[in-house]
Symmetry: C2
Subunit: 205 residues, 2 copies
DNA sequence: GTCTATACGCCGATAGAC
DNA sequence: GTCTATCGGCGTATAGAC
């Protein structure tokens, strides 16, 4: 490390690209893509305004790069369809864990999904496989008569809603959750598996 | 109606304020508040750029006014806590119906919630009562031992996730849902009520 | 590689004619 | 009330010194 480099921040020695990506991820999650300016990112990263364009070629490319670390992770997500109920439980649990570990990425993803942003195209490889896996698992469960529910599509929505929406709002969840991530995961698995079971009340007003 | 008024649009005779509000609601739902420009709103409403400021005093006030019609509706939302299980079912069903009838407003609300926008303060009276109602209902259910679940807070999140997140994305729900809104409501009620039931499996890996 | 200074467009808001 | 034209500001991106 050159002694000429100013040490303007505690971890200035980290690579500039990483600093920008870290700041961008944090700000995108908090304020949204459009609500975040390149100026803010560079300020938070303690670098000058020009470096986003120099290193990444623009704000949009920073957005893309932010998701790079998890692209590999998602490619390896395969579930054993022969044990489809187990696969469903495993999927839900892993998603809750992932959501907890990468809460910022999930928050960004959620925002882009909700507003159907043009950037979703750059993210299809990140989340579409998960959606498809879940759909396949649910179809298996239905075909084997393990669970009985009226619609795979609607079920996918309920499940992803349950898994993604939770714990993302500062002032709705005013009291810090008393549950550990593992307990939340258990609760989520339980909620979803039981929820999909049809009851005799179904269709009744 | 003055014959001097140009009839530039099919429903130009409608009040200009209403036209602006209609266009704004549609665009906010589709592109988000920040992603929507005043120019777009006025173009879609077939009025000139100046009229947003003239009639409402700015973009933010348009946003506030868009939610005006449902403010009254939400104030009257009371549930019979003595029948807390019935109240829970009723809450869920009404929310699905509401989501279906006012899908644009729900979409806007969802976006603002997810990105914790500064405009949420203007919307507390719209949704916070619902959240509180649900929390109260769940607490009642728990105290009366009607349902057994580990955390009211987390349950609120699961439920609102299930109710709000569903059916909002254009290309995830590629196949049009084969269920009617009432059937979806039934499924949602069933999903949530059954989901909250604890099983002996809870806590098991 | 990193900086400062600046280009240039689009934003929301408004002045002023009609 | 409604329009067109324009203002001032901030957005991203880049030119050019170091």
């Amino acid at each position: 490390m050159s002694p000429l480099k100013q040490n303007r921040s505690n971890d200035r020695n980290k690579d500039v690209r990483d600093q920008i990506l870290r700041a961008a991820k944090e700000l995108f999650a908090k304020k949204g893509y459009e609500g975040t300016t390149v100026r803010q990112i560079c300020h938070e990263a303690n670098v000058s305004l020009a470096l986003v364009s120099y290193h990444f070629g623009g704000k949009e490319n920073v957005f893309f790069e932010v998701f790079q670390p998890i692209r590999q992770l998602f490619e390896n997500m395969k579930y054993d369809l022969s044990d489809s109920l187990g696969a469903l439980k495993s999927f839900c649990r892993q998603f809750v864990i992932f959501r907890n570990e990468e809460s910022e990425l999930v928050s960004i993803l959620q925002q882009e999904l909700v507003m159907n942003s043009p950037r979703l195209e750059m993210l299809t490889d990140v989340f579409l496989p998960s959606w498809e896996q879940l759909r396949l698992i649910l179809q298996e469960c239905q075909e084997k008569n393990l669970i009985d529910f009226p619609s795979v599509d609607v079920a996918v929505n309920f499940i992803m809603g349950t898994l993604m929406f939770s714990h993302n709002n500062a002032f709705l969840n005013r009291t810090q959750s008393e549950m550990s991530p593992e307990q939340v995961a258990d609760f989520a698995v339980n909620f979803i598996i039981n929820g999909l079971q049809a009851t005799s009340e179904q269709g009744k007003r």
